[in-house]
């Protein structure tokens, strides 16, 4: 039987939803028979309700933030006296703009040209891309994806779920669009993820190749995705692009390690269809010849025999 102190401690953890399932079940069983603990729990819950969370208002946060940014800018200005970033900051301060870059990024971005190859929101505003943002107050990097469409001429459009609709359009080989597709592929939203892989599939089948940056992400999807449809699409994408070592590695991994038969089979077919050197796959085939899937098993054996036949 637990001591009084441990039960009291558990009651506190119970209030904060920090008990394991078994601990919680035990405690709930105890609560049913112990009126002292019931009272204790009620008192704790009252404390929780009364000591409400409070938050410092935005009216305080904003000037505090501005003061910090001002100080930071001074510091960087001292380190790099000719930094263009500082001059822009100074101008912006003088103009009385709130320097909340995420929210005003669009506006600032229009007026400045900056060096550096890193992607920034401003990149979206240059060249032939079009973006419609009604008040330019939201960073598309922080919002959900509404839909992704792909047109036959190779243009991709991504719409974001914001108060004011944001659409980003551009060609698939455009770095900014690629970047936004990376985010879409990594999103928590399963539907947006599916849309992203579908768009990528069209892109891949049209160009027969993909930027290398996608492959790490596709590997990650194969490792973590729960939706088999998404996984199969990823395999199809990898089967569509021109054979290359990185793609082969991913496909071999999927073929050997995926829990799902259909995914393993699809990866197997993609490898066979992709004109990869069977000889290079020999080690893999000796493993797959004992796969639980009959097709993979027999086909592996057949290929192994064939490759032995040719080498002899």
């Amino acid at each position: 039987m637990s001591t009084c102190r441990t039960i009291k401690e558990k009651l506190v953890l119970y209030c904060y939803d920090e008990l394991s399932d078994t601990e919680q079940a035990e405690l709930e069983a105890h609560l049913k028979v112990c009126s002292a603990c019931q009272e204790e729990l009620a008192a704790l819950q009252k404390l929780q309700a009364d000591v409400k969370s409070f938050s410092v208002s935005n009216d305080i946060l904003q000037p505090t933030r501005r003061a910090l940014f001002y100080k930071l800018r001074n510091m960087s200005a001292k380190e790099q006296p000719s930094s263009p970033w500082w001059n822009i900051g100074k101008l912006a301060l003088q103009a009385g703009l709130a320097i909340v870059l995420v929210f005003f990024g669009f506006k600032l971005g229009k007026n400045q040209s900056q060096t550096g190859s890193n992607f920034a929101i401003k990149d979206l505003l240059t060249a032939s891309r079009t973006i419609s943002v009604d008040d330019g107050s939201i960073s598309p990097l922080l919002v959900g994806i509404d839909k992704i469409t792909f047109s036959s001429d190779g243009a991709v459009e991504i719409s974001y779920n914001t108060l004011n609709k944001i659409h980003i359009q551009g060609y698939g080989n455009d770095p900014a669009i690629q970047h936004m597709l990376h985010y879409a592929l990594l999103t928590d939203d399963p539907i947006a993820r599916l849309r992203a892989v579908k768009a990528l599939e069209k892109l891949a089948s049209m160009n027969k190749k993909l930027d290398d940056s996608y492959f790490t992400i596709l590997q990650r999807i194969l490792n973590q995705e729960t939706n088999i449809g998404v996984k199969l699409t990823v395999i199809d994408i990898l089967g569509t692009v021109q054979p290359q070592p990185q793609v082969q590695d991913i496909l071999v991994n999927a073929m050997l390690a995926d829990d799902n038969q259909a995914v393993r089979l699809q990866a197997f077919k993609a490898l066979l269809g992709g004109e990869y050197q069977i000889a290079a796959l020999e080690n893999v085939l000796t493993i797959t010849k004992s796969d639980s899937n009959t097709y993979i098993r027999t086909k592996s054996l057949e290929l192994l025999n064939k490759s032995k036949g040719t080498s002899l």
């Binding site: 506190v12 404390l47 409400k52 009216d59 305080i60 920034a120 985010y183």
Partner: protein, 202 residues
Amino acid sequence: MSPVYIHVVSDQQKYIEFELVQRAQQGDAKAFEELVILSDHQVLNLAYSMTGSLTDAQDIYQETFLRAFKGIGDFRFQSSFRTWVLRIAVNQAINWRKKKKLKLFFSLDAQNPGENDTPFLQITDDSDASAAIRSGEILQQIHAAMHTLSSKERAVFSLRHFQEIKIKEIARMLECAEGTVKNLLFRATQKMQKALAHYIEE
């Protein structure tokens, strides 16, 4: 036009954060500012809940981010940026308390630290004026009760109760065992209960 605040906690955000930190480490001050925006409301709230004084909270806020800015090169992605920054803030708030104690020793205003700060508060769930006044009173009581806690108890209580951060993450932040955090939370809750007993029973 008022800015729209969006808080998304997701892989996507982790990816963005990862990239921003990398850029900040390469000296991109703008990336650092974006990181500040992602975490600073929580830092200010934490500092405020730990000190009970808005001016002190603002000082801690500034000191925290200046330290983070100078130390970003040493950030090794062992935790999220938010966890890292909150850890700095907690340490700052604990140090602040030590400094303050020293000051209070020589000061006559010891009883009312930061009493002028209350009107600035935005209190959740309040509509009419009398409720606001009552909430103001409650807040003063809460701050007084918080002063009965030790620095660590206060840190844990602020993080778990006000910032709603899970015990596991707090343990990582304070670099101690989860059991220690649980123990501190328990003691803090008991002290809060005791300190607020007359008020809550009304």
